[in-house]
Symmetry: C2
Subunit: 383 residues, 2 copies
């Protein structure tokens, strides 16, 4: 709740945009119905909910009836992995080596349901190896899951190409587009995927809302059974205010995408020029990346230590995936890229938004240099 | 969003209390961190989240570490049924005949995992038959699930007695306390249950938040896998603002419970006196009930028709469970009580809060009488 610290960790979560709160407030201040109720309160809630569904659908190039609202990206990814495989006979489930834990762990949970989980590797820039994917697809494969942009490196993945390969081998493809959505153009029809996860709180919307967009030809089993909401695919009273906030945030993100891209790209260029001068290794720098993300390490300095030191002097950054539980293991994404564990332990992630300024970057670089010098001094004493 | 209609459907959802919104607003207007992040924004979010957990725990007489936050009652019930049975060898799953679909449908989904689902009947007042339960427990039973108060009739169930029976037979007991929580005293330790579901939006908190309270000796498998939040039991970024709102609503509900009980009980007595004069059959009237709930039928008049007619003249009531999908089937709760399908089709539910007034009840009864006379006239013409 402090405002003195510069927030440079927008891939972990984002502040609610004022226009989003404005759109939500009528549903938080006036009597609201359960969208299942048939009286006027219920019908009004239903109408607002269905408008939000159309707005979200338009943002990703699908029909409203394909949007299944969930409690967030984690639920949507669990729903996709467990719900699609539940209606297929067990075979191979193929995931990339750089997926978020909310894809890898649901995948692992299927192992005792006779599914065989296999991993597609990535190259040194953190990009999925399509040749390896094609080879893996020679084994009978029910589902492939590959993220659209990596949350740690920002590297954008060849999901459209992978979807074509999957189709040619009779497999379905799910993509976790949580980090890509709102930062780059995400059109589900153009990608040709069968299911896609998006989330609200990464784009200035409220936490606790997301969606799985599902191709109508995909037979998916619900994860949450009950009252039959969301066409029977996701039971539970719909979070009307949250969903309206999500739709508003998505629309704002679409409107500002081009200008935001330019702004954050300039800030990141400024950042990475400075990082180069400090001798940092920038991961996935040769890959096509999200414009806001920079993942780097200063050799021989622990990322955790640096994050803690930077926090003390007013800069909020991440050491790896902020979405996973406390763990001092080096990033699985970096290890998949062939980065040594030693260097990977140095990883620091800066993720920007257009609320950040060039001045903040200048100050951040100065603080980083100071902390690096201090820590190198400590290392020298210790050695 | 209209305020001209009297809202008499508080068991379906409730308006957010102003004090709840006030507690949530700092988390919706200022930069907020992901509680997993280690920087100051993340730590502040974590601290607020853990305070809310303590507050919820205190409301139900448990330790904070027993509270697992979910996206609502439906997720918590799915988590309980699927998560507890996942770590037991298949046997009998016993549920009452009056459970919400978000208990019955997860239970049915276990059938192909070799679990046998059996149902405990209720008496004519909608109260679980303990003798029948004991008989059913003679078959090896892993889990019993029985709600604490029924959402349709308001009938309070002998869950503490059932928990003792279950324990004596080596079975675990889960209770869905969604409708009871905030309306009557709910103490998990006193009930002696192993898992308990509560929800936020039934008590003036936001939609999209709930919790499963779990006895530490119960080995429960997660439903949502991922980053390992909630001690690994429920992954997904914690809905900080929503959880803070839930805790605030729960505390307010505890503070006002006694006075609210008196107020809504008086309103319901006024209502039911009038209903008796109109020849209504009041369901579960001899049972110990939630003080706010009245479920009744006017013989030979369809509940759906009455609800629609009352909505047009400014009264929002429900025809049955507002939480289930569109269905013209008579209430399964009433059928379980031995009510004839014909009478059950007449069911109308009025569920009050202390925001309702005696004047509203007077006006409602007048409107009901008018609609009943009109519909009886139509029936007479049709006959």
């Amino acid at each position: 709740m402090t405002t003195q610290t510069a927030f440079l960790d927008h891939n972990s979560t984002t502040a609610l945009k004022p226009q989003v709160l404005e759109a939500m407030l009528p549903w938080l201040t006036q009597p609201t119905g359960n969208p299942t109720s048939r009286h006027v309160f219920g019908r009004n809630a239903r109408e607002a909910l269905e408008l939000a569904r159309k707005q979200i659908a338009a943002c990703v190039g699908v029909q409203a009836s394909q949007v299944v609202f969930t409690s967030g990206g984690t639920e949507a990814n669990n729903f996709a992995i467990k719900g699609i495989t539940a209606n297929l006979s067990p075979s191979q489930l193929l995931i990339s080596g750089i997926e978020h834990p909310c894809v890898t762990r649901p995948a692992q949970s299927l192992a005792w349901h006779d599914w065989k989980v296999a991993t597609i590797g990535v190259d040194s820039q953190g990009v999925i190896d399509l040749a390896q994917a094609e080879q893996a697809l020679s084994a009978r494969t029910g589902l492939v899951s590959a993220m659209l942009a990596n949350n740690e490196t920002g590297a954008i993945q060849p999901v459209a190409e992978l979807a074509q390969l999957a189709k040619a081998h009779g497999a379905l493809l799910h993509t976790d587009a949580v980090q890509a959505f709102g930062k780059i153009d995400v059109n589900m029809s153009a990608l040709g995927v069968h299911a896609m996860t998006i989330s609200s709180h990464k784009i200035g919307g409220p936490i606790g809302v997301g969606a799985l967009i599902v191709d109508k030809r995909v037979d998916i089993a619900p994860l949450l059974h009950g009252g039959g909401q969301e066409r029977g695919l996701r039971s539970g009273t719909e979070n009307v205010a949250g969903i309206i906030g999500f739709a508003q945030a998505a629309q704002l993100a679409m409107q500002s995408m081009a200008s935001r891209h330019t702004t954050v790209k300039q800030l990141r260029d400024q950042l990475e020029s400075g990082l180069n001068r400090l001798g940092a290794v920038i991961f996935a720098q040769q890959a096509e990346r999200l414009p806001n993300t920079s993942f780097f390490a200063i050799p021989n300095i622990e990322g955790e230590t640096l994050v803690t030191a930077l926090d003390k002097v007013g800069f909020a950054v991440a050491s790896g995936s902020a979405c996973s539980s406390d763990s001092t293991e080096p990033s699985h994404v970096l290890l998949a890229m062939g980065i040594t564990p030693d260097l990977a332990r140095g990883a620091v992630r800066v993720s920007l938004s257009d609320s950040n300024t060039s001045e903040e970057i200048t100050q951040f670089l100065a603080a980083l240099q100071q902390q690096v010098q201090r820590l190198k001094g400590l290392n020298a004493v210790a050695a």
